[in-house]
């Protein structure tokens, strides 16, 4: 307990807030640009250089809007939900190593911390759906809960595969263990399963059943407006960042790379995953909920289990 340095924590928290908001601005811009280009459009072009400040303008607009709670909504839950969604991010960001020394909080159980807190997002979605007294919201929340049941076990099994290879739960150690060769090459199956899992985890298309515009209006955030809506928005993009950062650490050797400084390598790799997710979103149509459950239970689970067993046996030999 004596190694807690107050100043260090404050600076890291400020840094994390900076990263969270900057990341949201950048990724939303990247997403809209990519979406535009993939549909032969330009995407945002007006605010700033090639529309780079568009997200900022949208953010200011959102903040200036009123949050209207529906008449029969459970106001406490309604207001609590976006907070539950967003706040765990700030803790989950802490153990992420941008380089071997640049991390907010060194802990032996960093990987568990990030994954455990990542699961709280679904809780926020469920509360939002339930609290807003809206049938679409409720359906969205329920779907998110069904989704977590489908991806959680394969996700944990792939993570465990990596953990037994690296022999540590610490993100730093896992990255350092890939000094010679990235785990993406040793564990290609785990890599693929993990990519599918992070898309499932972040409720991104093609697995965005929780907000499914064409069926549920906007799903769990149908009733949200203004600041609360932007908090959900921020949470979604931050969870994407965290999940991608985990993928980078577990499969692409974290911050390690030639020539460029470590944090730049790290951010580049994270953005590779973010771009991948954006690419998925604008390519694949949304799956049905039963298809998603089939995928989770009949494909991802057996594959990750077998992969885990084989890895364990090989390591034991």
């Amino acid at each position: 307990m004596k190694d807690i340095n107050l100043l260090h924590i404050i600076i890291s928290l400020l840094g994390i807030m900076g990263i969270v908001s900057l990341n949201a601005v950048l990724v939303v811009w990247l997403e809209r640009k990519t979406a535009g280009r993939m549909q032969f459009r330009h995407g945002p072009m007006e605010v700033g250089f090639h529309g780079i400040l568009q997200t900022l303008a949208d953010g200011i607009k959102l903040v200036s809007k009123q949050l209207v709670a529906p008449n029969h909504a459970d106001t406490a839950l309604f207001i609590l939900a976006p907070v539950v969604s967003l706040v765990p991010i700030f803790v989950a960001m802490m153990p992420i190593p941008f380089s071997s020394t640049m991390l907010a909080h060194e802990t032996d159980t960093g990987l568990l911390l990030v994954i455990a807190l990542g699961l709280l997002n679904t809780l926020g979605i469920l509360l939002a759906g339930w609290g807003s007294d809206n049938k679409y919201g409720l359906l969205g929340g329920t779907r998110a809960v069904g989704q977590i049941l489908a991806y959680k076990i394969p996700l944990l099994l792939t993570v465990l595969t990596i953990v037994i290879m690296a022999g540590s739960f610490s993100l730093r150690e896992i990255a350092l263990a890939q000094h010679g060769i990235w785990y993406a090459f040793i564990q290609p199956i785990a890599f693929l399963v993990y990519i599918v899992c992070i898309v499932l985890e972040t409720n991104r298309s093609p697995f965005d059943m929780a907000e499914a515009e064409s069926e549920l209006v906007a799903g769990f955030h149908t009733e949200y407006s203004g600041m609360a809506f932007s908090m959900f928005f921020l949470a979604e993009y931050s969870y994407m960042f965290v999940a991608s950062a985990l993928a980078t650490v577990m499969f692409l050797g974290g911050w390690q790379g030639p020539f460029l400084p470590a944090p730049i390598w790290f951010v580049l790799k994270v953005y590779f995953f973010l771009f991948l997710m954006i690419w998925f979103r604008w390519t694949f149509p949304r799956v049905r909920i039963d298809q998603m459950l089939m995928l989770g239970w009949k494909v991802l689970l057996p594959i990750s289990l077998i992969n885990f067993l084989i890895t364990a046996v090989v390591l034991a030999l």
Partner: protein, 159 residues
């Protein structure tokens, strides 16, 4: 059974990759959107915008001599023409030429019927307006030079 299962997964992954190839190709190909109002489309020769008056090459005044053929032919009755002779001229010249674009069906009969080919379809497609009057009383004369002095023209259109 198990080969089927594996085959299915491999095939599925393959088709996903094929889809991703399509989108990434699209991403790096030319965009089709035109950045209006900074850029304008080059419209084809026979594009039908609202009708406009053709200026005479020499003077820049409208070719139209206010015969009223077009107004009579128009099935929607959306052209209003009034004209008189400017001082020292042989032919009349229009003092009022209004188009009610809200009624026009772009049929082209006015263009056909004009004896001196004084009307064509314009290529103007950025027609945003805040008032109904911007469309129901389009003053086609305003784009051209007028043989009348400006205050005469004003007087006439007010009346």
């Amino acid at each position: 059974m198990i080969t089927n299962y594996v085959h299915e997964i491999v095939k599925g992954t393959g088709s996903l990759l094929a889809g991703m190839k399509v989108t990434i190709k699209a991403m790096f190909s030319r965009t089709h959107t035109v950045q209006w109002p900074r850029q304008y489309l080059v419209l084809p020769e026979r594009f039908r915008g609202h009708i406009e008056l053709v200026p005479a090459k020499t003077t820049g005044f409208p070719k139209c001599f206010a015969c009223g053929n077009c107004a009579r032919t128009c099935p929607s009755k959306c052209i209003t023409v009034k004209g008189k002779k400017p001082e020292g001229a042989k032919k009349k010249s229009p003092t009022v030429f209004l188009l009610d674009f809200t009624k026009c069906s772009l049929c082209g009969l006015c263009v056909e019927s004009c004896p001196v080919k004084a009307i064509t379809f314009s290529k103007d497609y950025s027609l945003a307006g805040a008032l109904k009057d911007d469309f129901s009383n389009m003053d086609l004369l305003s784009k051209l030079a007028s043989p009348f002095s400006s205050h005469v023209k004003k007087e006439e259109s007010d009346g």
